[in-house]
Structure formats: structure tokens, C-alpha cells
Symmetry: C2
Subunit: 675 residues, 2 copies
Amino acid sequence: EIDFNLAAIYVSDAQYNRNVYFDTLPQAVRLYMLYNHWALKVLLYFFMLVNLSLAIFEDPAVYPLPIWATMLVEILCLLIFTIRLIHYAKVILRDKFWKDPKNICIIVILTLTLVDMIIYGALKAANYYGVRWSRVLRPLLLVNVTEGRQLRRAFRSIRNALPQIFYVFMLFMFSILIFSLMALKLLGKRGLTNINGTPYFTSYLEIMFDLYVLVTTANSPDVMMPAYNANFFFAVFFIVYILINTYIFMSVFLAVVYNSYKKYLKEEVRQLVRAKRHKMVRAFGVLQEQREEGGEPVVTQASWNQLVRLVQPNLSNAHRELLWSVSDDKNQGVAFVQLADLLNIEIITIKSRPHPLQSLCPSLYQSAPSKLLCQLVQHRAFVMVYDLIILVNAVFIGLDEENPMIANSEWVFLALYILEILLKLYVFEPRVFFSKHSFWNWFDTIIVISALIATIINSVMKSSSHFSSRQILDIVFILRVLRLIRVVDSIKRFRIIINTLIRIGPAILTFGQLIIVVYYIFAMVGMELFKGKVTFYEQSSTNLAKAYCGNPLLNGTDFAKLNYCKNNFNNVVSSFILLVELTVVNQWHDILYGFATVTHISARIFFVLFHIIVVIVILNIFVAFVLEAFFVEYSVDKSDLQTSLERKIEELELAVAQYVTLQRVVSGGPIEWVG
Amino acid sequence: EIDFNLAAIYVSDAQYNRNVYFDTLPQAVRLYMLYNHWALKVLLYFFMLVNLSLAIFEDPAVYPLPIWATMLVEILCLLIFTIRLIHYAKVILRDKFWKDPKNICIIVILTLTLVDMIIYGALKAANYYGVRWSRVLRPLLLVNVTEGRQLRRAFRSIRNALPQIFYVFMLFMFSILIFSLMALKLLGKRGLTNINGTPYFTSYLEIMFDLYVLVTTANSPDVMMPAYNANFFFAVFFIVYILINTYIFMSVFLAVVYNSYKKYLKEEVRQLVRAKRHKMVRAFGVLQEQREEGGEPVVTQASWNQLVRLVQPNLSNAHRELLWSVSDDKNQGVAFVQLADLLNIEIITIKSRPHPLQSLCPSLYQSAPSKLLCQLVQHRAFVMVYDLIILVNAVFIGLDEENPMIANSEWVFLALYILEILLKLYVFEPRVFFSKHSFWNWFDTIIVISALIATIINSVMKSSSHFSSRQILDIVFILRVLRLIRVVDSIKRFRIIINTLIRIGPAILTFGQLIIVVYYIFAMVGMELFKGKVTFYEQSSTNLAKAYCGNPLLNGTDFAKLNYCKNNFNNVVSSFILLVELTVVNQWHDILYGFATVTHISARIFFVLFHIIVVIVILNIFVAFVLEAFFVEYSVDKSDLQTSLERKIEELELAVAQYVTLQRVVSGGPIEWVG
């Protein structure tokens, strides 16, 4: 009566680095297995997305919906989150539940949201002005759910870097203060004027702000020009300023963030490894049997098989036997602990079975012309010919598609690409061609087939109604251009870089979540502060207010002159796009001045805060992360486990895949194995 | 008859990492010692500076001088460089001289310069148009002289990173090409217009260029606005573009540069250590004596002393004895090899001698009030009171100095600062107070005394002629503000950061040289291409051409509107300032469009090339360098040698300095020793 469920849970927790102190009673274990079911997770994230998307429909809305509709959906979301939390509470030990700050956070967020909804509903019903302040809490759910492990780690790495950043930031601010004072003394009394005739560098606060903006380089060289025009020695002042504050301090910020990131990463990995070992030891404890009196406790192959079948049901028998042969060491306890890592090493079991056509009509497939064809397709020249075709295609795409010759050439190229895929399918076993890691094969096929469909739809529409849909045409164009990307795969150096980027992709997605959390909060606050202050008029509008974005205060400002009216906080989509522009930093001071003009000078605080949090802290963490990820990937050595697995595969006299040229698998990633 | 000169040369070559294959004949050795004399080096660098500064006086000149004058000075410079080279040729082995590419480089540069001068002189004499093209070669002398070791290393680290950068750059350009094609297809036919009414995104080359500029963020969000105004989905295109090309690719550039920098640094350090050991072994070989038949060869203390006296004449006897006690190991050969490193470890020999006042009038200095005063000055509160004074001073500086009360308060503050220095000099031994590493003491004293002198001159001028010189006043203001910086030294966290920055300072200077070499070349080329195309008119000028920088082609362009007329290549100083602006990147496209308008569209190549070389390559190396330097300094562990020296100091029962609080020495740097 071994509790296989319990052991399997330990192993899969170890495999996915889950640290949940679940109850070990059989019923709780079953509940926990349900809790980890992928469908429930997808459901949770779906409602998370719905909850976040509500901002599109709530005032200020992109597509307005009545309040009761959005409220109803929100209540549904809250309900789902509550159920999920109750499920979690049933799974884990009661005292652990109440000690975990993230559970408390979720409860607080849900309660506050409910309270806010009631207040807001009541205020609206009584026709009062209300603010849905609890909307800023929504993205915090993403961080606090059990599945938000990676995201929490990213936030933790920021929190860890903060004390260090703080001191450098203080010094940096001190430097700005000193330089501002110097600028005031040197330039304030010279009677210089800005380009628009206003006095130059006369107010200390304004100078401080201008110099802060100069650190971001957004107002360079304009801020320097009046002084430089007066005397070129003043340029030296600004050059020294930029050198110290933009180059040295910004590098020091990166250095400090990167340093704390590396230090923290090491500690984190160490903890993860410890927790993993701990769980595997527990799993071993559950499975072990005393084979003989006084002997070492062991795990039999039968229980081992049952365990692995439970943990990873879709593993082939051959693969499982391979893993057992690696695990069945003299010191079984130690070998068992590796199982979680072993399961995480991807092994592509390339079935060395023959091509389906060979079974269907062997005489034809084995004939001399057919063999010649196979050789041709596998030849280097084949790849080069198609690279050439892609280049010619690129030129044709660049030419005017109104020309009927050019428009028809598209069919030729489409036919050529489809021919390529068919030829490859003729030569290579389809299951190998479309294996999970053949990124470029999938990419090619999807792009070419989509392009075919879109082109057909387009030409059908054109011939039937003499009118081609702009949207369809856009999609066709995008697909055509995307097809060209494939050419990079032919150059080995490029492939290495691209593969590195693809591999750090998932981790970049974690950063994407982090950015969305921060953006969402700023978007909600920004919308409350600035909604409706700036209006965008369509190109075709003849409204005179168009020249000043519908707000007379903006008349003659750079904001209006640069036609920035659409950069506003009037709905959540505009807000997000505006926040991206603020992250890019350039011209952010014009945007900021615009919003400060239509509201109050203190509106600057919002923008400066955004700059400090997103650009100085988060973007530096992002760069630190890309740097570290790149170094790790560049110096990719296979782990000991991977090598021992490979040795085992060879020992077992299983030929290591020879299909490397065909495979186009992500290099250095999974192990190939002809099973 | 030991050749002490030869041994000393080996040791000092090892100490300063010189790799010169000099002739070991006594005469050549003496010549080599002369070659290494500091005065000759200073002379060389002085004439290097003169040679580079000629650009200020040559056409297009800041201060024009007749051609014969600059030519005469240049010939003098060339003569000095030739003499220096001949001196070097006499020192080293003949075949080594001709095998060394840097000697060949110098000869080629000198010859080409001479040829160019003759041609130019002849052309000018015949009143033809001539170009002084050899001016771009001038800064290359900085790189190729024997002393330019650090600079060559910096260039080598760039050269080593190039192959890696090249592939990423190709991929990056490919990405721009693909996005440009997509932009052309998506946006080219929509009839959109830029803010000035020109068609938007219709030419492939223009799109490519605009998107390249977008990577530098200089035209964000303006380049996106027309498309975004038409449909907000197009913003997605630009956001994806920025994400991939600005954030990911730029991080990858940094990662690649940093990676190759680190790898190369390790290799470089390994080679340096090997070369150093090799030289020390040779020095040992020269000095060793066979004390007894068949015994180990040893270096006697007498020869050792003579050697060290030759290498470092200003070392105190106590210090030399300390070093001997560290070196006099059983395994003398190994210990001897460390000598070069030992000499490089700075030891501050704090003479524990009494305060001069104590010797002069001991009764007064030892009296109770005097002792109380000493205690007061050494108390924490003393520092805090002065920090407070500095803060109050900052407020006073910020106020209007026209107010007589404020103007007079300056005398009070000056008196307070002088009092502080005098008090400290009363308490601490002056030689300790002004020791080499007491950065802040030196800083304080110099600033305060300069401020005193400048303020006196200013008030004398004011009272005598009722007119204060603007320049003197500017200096007074700068000194006053600089005085405030001292406050950061009171906060420990700040001190650590500042000290780190001070310590990486010398290496940043090497980068400064590198930047000057590159800037100088670009300035010379830029001046030939763009001189006189744009004219700057003084503020007071009433010339109508002022509105378009004296060039009708610029009428109505952003360049003229933004008042960028002084951003020109009309002389070497303007050129350098303009190149700094281009390095900062912001608005570089407006500057570039300006110069392309007044010359030819291909002028863009000059600016893009500058961007690629300086911003993508050199600045990334700079950041990589700051990162690495910061990590090394942050994780500063004393080397084994330093610890063994410290242990020895303690063993010898010499008290380790107790003056740490007083010292304010660069933390973690030199060892203090009360000898």
C-alpha cells in the first residue's frame, strides 16, 4: 500500500519547483492533483485576463458597456478567484495558509475590490462622482496566485536591488542638485532666453527638472543651445554634466542592479536545489521498500515505473526504461533524487521508422529517380537555391504590387514555397519534419499556408467585387515579408544568435508580465488623473480645436505642435501606448509638459516616478537579465546529468540521431535519440 | 660585477608591465633608462598635445595663424617624434624594431605627414585648393608610441569584440530591412502625411533610415504618430519594432561586447602575469650569487638593497627593510619574483612622530584646553556641525547674491571653512593631513583657498572700479558650489560609491584618450566635408540670414528652427562639441538632416558611421568596462600579497595605523603603516 499519488506529487513539485506545503492525507493529495490540473490553471489565467480586460469596457472605455455588465463580469471573476483560493486552502495545512502573505494579499484584494464595487455602484446609482480605485489592485492578483512563481521572483529581484539602487540614486540626485545650483549661478543672471523667448535657467526648480530630463538625453542638445550660443565654454559644463550623470551614473545603476541580480540569482538557485532535493527525498521515503532484513531500503522497478507513469503519462516505454537504467545505480537513493531533473531533460525519441511512402509503394520510393530527388533535396545547393529565391522574392515584394506582372509573380513564389515543403515531406519522415523542436519547419509551413489562404481569399474578393479588403491585404503583406525571415536560418552564426534569443524568450515573457503589472497600475492612475484633458480629432475633422487637441491651454505648446493629441490617457489602450512612449523616453518631456499644462505642475511627479521605476529600475533589471541569460547560453555546457544520459544512450547501443542536418532543432537543447 | 642597472630595468619593466625587448649591453641599458625617464615622456606627450592642438590654429581655425607658423610648429613636433623613435631604435634589438608594427606605423605616419605638408605647402603657394588629409593620422601617434600601452589595449579589446559584433549587427540590419519592407507595404499606400505635409513612409530607403533612427529612439514617437493617428493597430507595429531592435538587440550588443571584453581581459591578464614573471626571473638571474659550492644561488641583502634603491629611490629605509623581510623566504627565487608586485602595493608610512607644535611649545600643546580642543575636533559632532554649515551655505548660495546680507555672508562661510582647516591642522600632523591619499583634505584645502583668493580679487575689483569681472565671478560661483560636494564624504554609503568611481578614474582616462582619437579623426573629416556650410550669427546680429544659419537651403528646416546654427564643423572646437551631441544621440537626426540638406544625401553615411562606431561599439565597451571595474571593486578582496605584507607588518610589531578616522584614505586601497 504505497501512496503513489503522494510520491508523484512530490516528484512533480520538484520537477516544476513548486513549494507548496500540502496536506499529505490521501484526500488532500487528490485535491492537490486536481489543483495542479492544467485546465484549472488555464481557466484561472483566462479569468485573470478577462478581469484585466475589463478596463477596455469601463469608463473611460474604448468600447463602452453599461456599468452593470462590467460589474457582473467582474463579480464572476472574483467568484472564480475565491473558489480557486478556497480550493488551495483545502489543499494545504491550515496554519501554512494563514502564514502565507500571498494568500492574505489575495483575500485583501478581493475584499477591497468588492467594497469598492459596492461604493462605486452606490455612488453611480445616486449620480455622484466615483472613482474605481480598486482597479489598480487587479494586476497584483497575477503576482499573488500560486502560479505567479516566476513573476514573484522577478519582483523579488527588484526588491533586493532596491537598497543598493537607493544610495546610488541619492548620490545621483545630489549631483543633479549641485549641477543645478552651478547652472543657476553661472547662467541665471545673463539674460539669456530660450528659443521661444522665455528666460533661460532662472528658476532653480526648473533647472533641476531640465537637468533631470537631460540625463535621459530627451532635451539634448536643445537645453544647452542658449548657453552654448552665448559662449562655447558653457558647452563644457553640459558635457561634464552628461558625462557624469548620463554615462557614469547610468552605468553605475546598471552595475549595481546587475551585481545584486547575480548575487540574488545564485542564492535563489541554491534554495531551489535544496528544496528540490528535499522533496525527492520525501518521494523516495514514500516509495522505499525493505527488500531484505537490515538491508538498504530500495525502490523496485515496478513502483518506479508506476510513479513515472503517474508523473509523466505520455512518456514512451523506451524512454522510461532509459531513465530507469540511469537511475538504477548502486546508491539508489542518490540516483533517485535526480529523477526530477532527468524528467526535465527533453529527449527527442526519433523513431527510426521508414518513410510512409516506402511502406506504401516501396518500388517507386526506392527507385533511382526517387533516390536522386532525395539526394538533391538534402544537398546544400537546395538550401542555397531557396535562399536565392527568397532574395528575389524580397526584391519583388519591394516593387509596386499594382503592376500585374509583379502581382502574378506572387503565385509563382507561393508555388515554389509549397513545392519546397512538399519535397521535404517527400524526403523526410513527416513526424520528424514536424517534431516539437523543428521551429523553422513549423514556421515555414504555417506562414506559407496562411499566405496561400489569405492570397486566395484576397483574389476571390478582388475578382468578385473588384474591391480588395485592406485588412486581408495587410495580412497578406505581413505574411509575405515574414516568409523572408527564414533566410537567417541558413547562416550558422545567425542561427546561434536567434536560437539564444528564442531560448531566453520564455523568461522575457515573465518580464512582459512584470511590465504589464506596472503599466496597468500607472495606466489606471493616469486615466483617473488625465482622462479627457486632451482630445484627439480624426484627420478628416474640420474642428478648429484640432490644432490644440481640444484644450485651449495647449494652444501653441510643443505638445500640440508635434501633433501628440492621440498620446493621451483617454482609454486603456491609448494609456498603454503612451506608457510605451514614455519608456522609450525620447520626447517624454514634451508629453509631460503637455499634461502638466492641462492639469497642474505637480503632474510631473507622475511622469518622473514612472521614469524612475520603469526606466531606471525595471529596464536595468531587464538588461541585467538579458546579459546574464546570454552569458549562460553562450557558455552552454551540457550538465552532468545530460552527459550521463547521453553516455547511457550510447551504452545501450542506441545510435544517436544522425538526422542533425535535417533536424534544425534548437542547437544545444534537447538530446536526440533514435529509439 | 653584478649589472645592477640591468636588473633594475627588468624589475621596473615588470612593475609597469612594459614589454620592450631592449639590448642588454650596458650602454643600451643606460640609454633605455634614459628613454624611460619621466621628463622625456612628459616632453613627448607635451609635443603630442601641441601637434593635436594645431587644429585650433589651422584653417578652419578658431584662432587663425599663418600657414608657415603652424607648419613650423608641426615640423618641430615631427622632429621630436623622430628623435624619440631613433632613441627607441638604439635601445632595442634591430630585428625587433623592424618587426614591431607600431614602429612601422609611426614611420609611415611621419613620412605621410611630411609628404602631405610639402604637397599642401606647394598647392597653397600656387594658390590652389589643398586638403591637409594627414591630419587624421595625428591622433594615431598617441596609439603607437611605446607609452600608449593602455590605449592599445583598449583598441585591442574593441578589435577582439568586432567579429562578434559584426554578426549581431548584420542580423540587426536584416531585422531593420524586414521591418522597413513591412512598413512600406502596410503604410506606403495609405496616403498618410508627415506633420509637415510630406508623404509618409513611401520610399524604402527613407523608411529604412527612419527606422534606424528609431532604434536610437531619437525620432520616437514622432515617426509613429501619423500611422498611430490613422489607426491604433499600427502602434503595435512600432512597439514590436522598438522591443526587438531597441531593447533586445541593443542589450545583445552589450552582452556580446561585454562577453568578449571579459574573455579577452582574462587572457590579457594571464599574459601580463607570465611576462612579469619572466622578467623577474631574468632580474634574479642577473643578481644571483653562488654563496657556497653546489648550493642554491641567492641574492644577498646588499645587492637586493642596491637594486631596490635603483628602482625606487624615494623608498624609506624602514619600508625597504619591510619588503626584504617579506622577500627573504626559504625559497628565495619564488619570493623574489613577487618584488615587482610588492613595489606596486602602496604603503603609507605614517611617521608616528609628534605634532610640530608639540616640539615647539609642548606645555601649551599638552595643556588641558588644547587637549579638549583636539577631542572636540576629532568628535563626530564636529563633522556634523560642518555638514550643517555646508547645508546652510547651500541655501545661501541659492539665494540672490545681489542682496548685501547674502553677499557678506560669503565671508562668514569662508572664515568658517578656513577655521575648519586650521583646526584640523592644529590637531593632526600636517604631513599626515596632506598625505598623498587624503583626497578630501586636498580637495577642501584647494577649493577653500582658491575661493578665498578669487573672492578677494573680486571684491578688490568691485570696490576699486565698481565693476566685477564676469569670469572671476563665474570662478567664485563654481568654487562655492564645489565646496558643497564635501558633504557626501560624511555618509559612508556614498563614500564607498565615490571611492569606487575615483579608483576607476584613471582607467576612464584611457577611454577618454580613445574617444579623443576617434573624435579627432571624425572632426578632421567632418571639417573637410562640412566647413562653412552653416554659419552661426551672434544673438545681437541683425543679419536676416540668421534665421537659416546663413544657408538658404536650411530655410524652414528643423535644424534652423531649433536654432542649431552653432552645431557646425566650422572649427575643431565646434566639431568636438557637435560630436559629443551626436554621441548623446538625441536630435542627431535633425542635425544630420541639416547637414545632408546643405551638402548631399550621402552625408548621412558620415553620421551613421559615427553612430555605429561610437555609440554601438565604443560606448558599449565603456559600459562593459565600468560594469567589470565596478564588480571588481565591489568584491574587493585584498590580494594574497597584500595580506602577507600586512601580516608581516604586524609580525614586526609595528602598530597598524590608528588614524583611520582621520585618514579619509581611499578605502581598501593602500595599506597604512605607522613606521
